[in-house]
Symmetry: D2
Subunit: 338 residues, 4 copies
């Protein structure tokens, strides 16, 4: 922490700041220039960060220097983490494909969906049972029945399953039927839900909120990790910007930035970023080329009739061709020297 | 709904679109120009909006024409709604002051805070017991004990109370002790929580998510309204933009836009928008001048020692002077002719 | 400047950083903690800011501490500046009204426009002759002929005039005919144009770019000031965000932030921010209440037939009522104590 | 164009709208539903777009249906355009490398830079002589002397050259010495400059403004094209968002969106998007994988001592390895089937 005093701050104000820092158990280092006085804090920054510095007389601002996430930090844990979803691994140099329909719409449909995923190279089956919908008048998913159908389909085709949980009561149900819990973008800062999945014994797929900074995503992961669950996969899925040509702006840079900052696996979701099927293949290629550990993509055998988000679902044949291409790109990336 | 066909769409594609619309029970109106064919849908748009139009062959895009919120719409309910919080009214031409500390820190502190609010013109007492914090390592509030203290302080000074609920289990507790339930910005799209407060018999203060559009805020209100609770107050509190001089960008335009679109009362929170005490008075003046029905502001007798968000809390004497000024501005606004 | 070294930076790397700083003529102050080493620079920050710190081995990042604008800074010039446009003053506690049509469309029209402005309380007449248009196929203004008509109208009604210059060649022409030069939002970072108006002997109205930070606006002003022209008025006019309910998002907070940072007068443009006439009055009230020194507003006697931006022009009768109200609000603001 | 009337619009208002459309020479098509009346315009939309619809009584809003750019549109020109820069082609399935230092700093330096580019696979040499700098106190480039040095270096190593022009007077000078004119992000909407390069007989590299929509970029290209210059290459270089982990947010989706909308070649600039050398290789891979026709990248043999933007310059050895990898990725992309 560095406390930057206002130009013209008095000696008494500087002294008061030093006293507050020392009272919190840190040491200080004062640097006086002609224009400015800076006060460095040596010790645990967390203890002084919350001291309302801009409300303290004479203080211009305070800057935190170390990162506020600890368990998620690559600095503390240089080796890449690998998350194991019932035998399917994510991270550590692999490229993992999570795929399936947006929503479980019925038994026949999800069985067909699972078959498509399995036959074309997918490794984990996705399908929503508890859907977060912007309008209260839209289809909200099949609920627990959907989880059972997803599980049946996954088992039939040997695919572990991932599904979104929206509220605390969904967690035990999803744990009973599925293999990985997804926290959706709208719930990235639902801290009670983060703590709940932090206590579950299932891997977690944590999607970035669409207005969340990378720092906030890592702090959301820290909620889960600090509750005891180390099996966390991060997912970039597009952020909200002024550009309306795509549903969200796919922040492809977040992938290498996250790989620098954290040891957790990083995947991405080109379907929600694009919001339009024709853009999914180029965005999928971009994300793999940027160094992601995998991707989660919506596939539907009849997008026109999908009950949710059909506009962004790709056809099985597109998925099939894409898997082949993405593996080839990943092969080049794996051998990168810079 | 208007379906805009791609240039060169075939007759078969146009026919297929018409069939899909008519199968949903609507009538169509086809307009063929030299360059483009448009298909208007006459009837309930909600039935055709979800038909995945961009996944339908030959379709360029589809545009919804009517607003997807119904109960919140001013068109359906031209008169301004008034929300009653234990006798304190919000809406209908009044200017209502909600004030207090960010967080209930202890008994003595909240009693002092309530006294400050009461003596200086505040009408509803705010105080957080369940705090949503970006970092898991920050102070998270006193929980139910905090609610009891808030209630005691409110009763002693004759002030109804408002407090944030973060998860379903908080709702009955807050209903027991407090008079108004707040949904925070991070939970604006926590749909389970919206439905839960929609079933509560308490007024709700719904804050805009910091990356939510005005349309999404109205749809979030619609979740509460459609669950049966008509006592909803909307609150603008700053949105996330590229500008970092303020914590968030106070979207003052949202106030008149919302007043045009909905009959619900609209207040604002200058404290969270600014993130800095010196900016709270000018933003408070701006929001009142823009036509808000009230504001919620953080006041603390010793911001430097606040356990949460002290940087943006104003001092009691500042609050006192501000209330007088804001009432004067509101007096002018009330008589506006344009 | 503070140089923050990477965790684990070597002694040689720290030494190299110190040498680079000292070679630029500054002194250093090294602070070593358990986790981190910080190196403070004492002296003229500008000399070390450009040293490509993140390209320097062992450096995590560098933070500038002082503000990079000097002449614009309130710190160096605490008293508010007053800009004089042919006798009409902006700044120093006044509220000044600049008004008129978006574009000079013809002689009769601008004469009528000037009359409307004069009779209803406007003090400076605006009117575009060189219009920046997003599409090459839109009306681009009358050019120099427009300047002459604007000047004639201003003289007839005793109103100084302001007009936009888009490129260097416009500057002498505008100086010949008009009293104040406007730099539009799209040209806020057109540095050659800034330097050119910096050498002109006319006051300048500098509009904030719609994606410019407040810091960049002040640096743009610094270009003009450092070229020798001290008559600069800043103008907030809405920034680009994800919200589409308004044409731009009026960043009302920029007004008090700028008033803290600079001595230059600050006005605003509610017309371009809103993009819609019905929102102009509430935004105008908000900006005046936030402490602005004036506003520039589009008024047209027949908006439906305007050749440019008619959607946001208010009618003369609306302008008339608004002037009265804004003066009343300004009367309250002037006496503010907080 | 579709005119959407307000609910409750009167017959007289509908009639007035129809008259205005017909007066502009278009036909109308009226569609009356229970809730709404829509009026479609058949004919040239450009003629009715500028009619200030929201200022017209009874009108809710107007929606343009066709794209306002004509020459740039892929619909009018389905085949990909190829731009020829002194024998080096951009577009049409190739991957073209533009590289070099941010700024020409001196003779020896640019000769060395050109050698690095040539030996490692670069095809066009970049180097700035007229630099747009946010602060007036930063190095602004060598001016015409820089152009001569750039030209000399290009000729010595057989590399065509590209350089930025910032104002009209730069255009003839750059045309005399260089082979391609660059319009920088800050000047994307400097319409006088766009028209001037539209009249030049040199290819133009048009960078996207950092707050420009894709639509605005295409309209800026249309300014150049409609002035007679068909040799235009578009360049995505990062947009401004709330995320501060990167200097700008690289909008990789813009590449496939532009490829759908226009026949012009599309390249990208990973250096300015990232603002940090370590992120340049992953972003370069992402952009090529997304389907770009080339990239422009900053390379410097000693970034620490660069006079401008050294933080984002990659070393020659990194550039060399990257060229090999990017060609391999491009090889896969070229054979894509979806």
């Amino acid at each position: 922490m560095i406390i930057i005093m206002k130009p013209g701050a008095s000696d008494a104000q500087v002294k008061h700041v030093i006293e507050r820092i020392e009272a919190a158990g840190l040491k200080t280092h004062v640097s006086r220039g002609d224009e400015l006085t800076l006060i460095g804090c040596i010790g645990d920054e967390a203890k002084v960060e919350r001291l309302n510095w801009s409300a303290t007389p004479g203080v211009e601002r305070a800057e935190r220097i170390t990162k506020p996430w600890k368990i998620a930090s690559r600095q503390m844990h240089p080796a890449a983490s690998v998350v194991d979803v019932q035998g399917v691994k994510i991270g550590g140099g692999r490229l993992t494909f999570l795929a399936g329909p947006c929503t479980v719409e019925g038994r026949e449909m999800i069985l067909k969906g699972a078959q498509v995923v399995k036959e074309n190279g997918g490794q984990i089956l996705r399908g929503g049972a508890f859907k977060p919908r912007t309008s209260p008048y839209d289809f909200q998913g099949l609920g627990e029945e959907g989880l059972k159908l997803l599980s049946e389909a996954g088992k039939k085709y040997g695919l572990p399953t991932v599904t979104e949980v929206r509220t605390l009561a969904h967690v035990p149900k999803a744990c009973e039927h599925c293999d990985m819990l997804q926290i959706g973008a709208r719930n990235m800062q639902n801290y009670d839900l983060l703590r709940e999945v932090g206590q579950a014994r299932k891997p977690v797929l944590l999607k970035r909120g669409f207005a969340a900074t990378i720092k906030e995503l890592l702090l959301a992961a820290e909620y889960i990790l600090s509750a005891g669950n180390t099996q966390v996969v991060l997912c970039e899925r597009g952020i909200r910007t002024y550009e309306t040509a795509t549903r969200f702006t796919f922040d492809v840079s977040a992938i290498p930035v996250l790989k620098e900052q954290t040891h957790l696996p990083v995947i991405f979701d080109p379907s929600h970023a694009a919001g339009k099927a024709s853009l999914v293949p180029p965005l999928a290629r971009a994300g793999v080329a940027a160094g992601a550990d995998g991707l989660i993509v919506e596939v539907h055998h009849n997008p026109e009739e999908a009950l949710c988000d059909g506009d962004q679902a790709i056809l099985p044949k597109v998925f099939k061709a894409l898997v082949v291409e993405l593996k080839a790109i990943h092969g080049i990336i794996k051998q990168r020297s810079v």
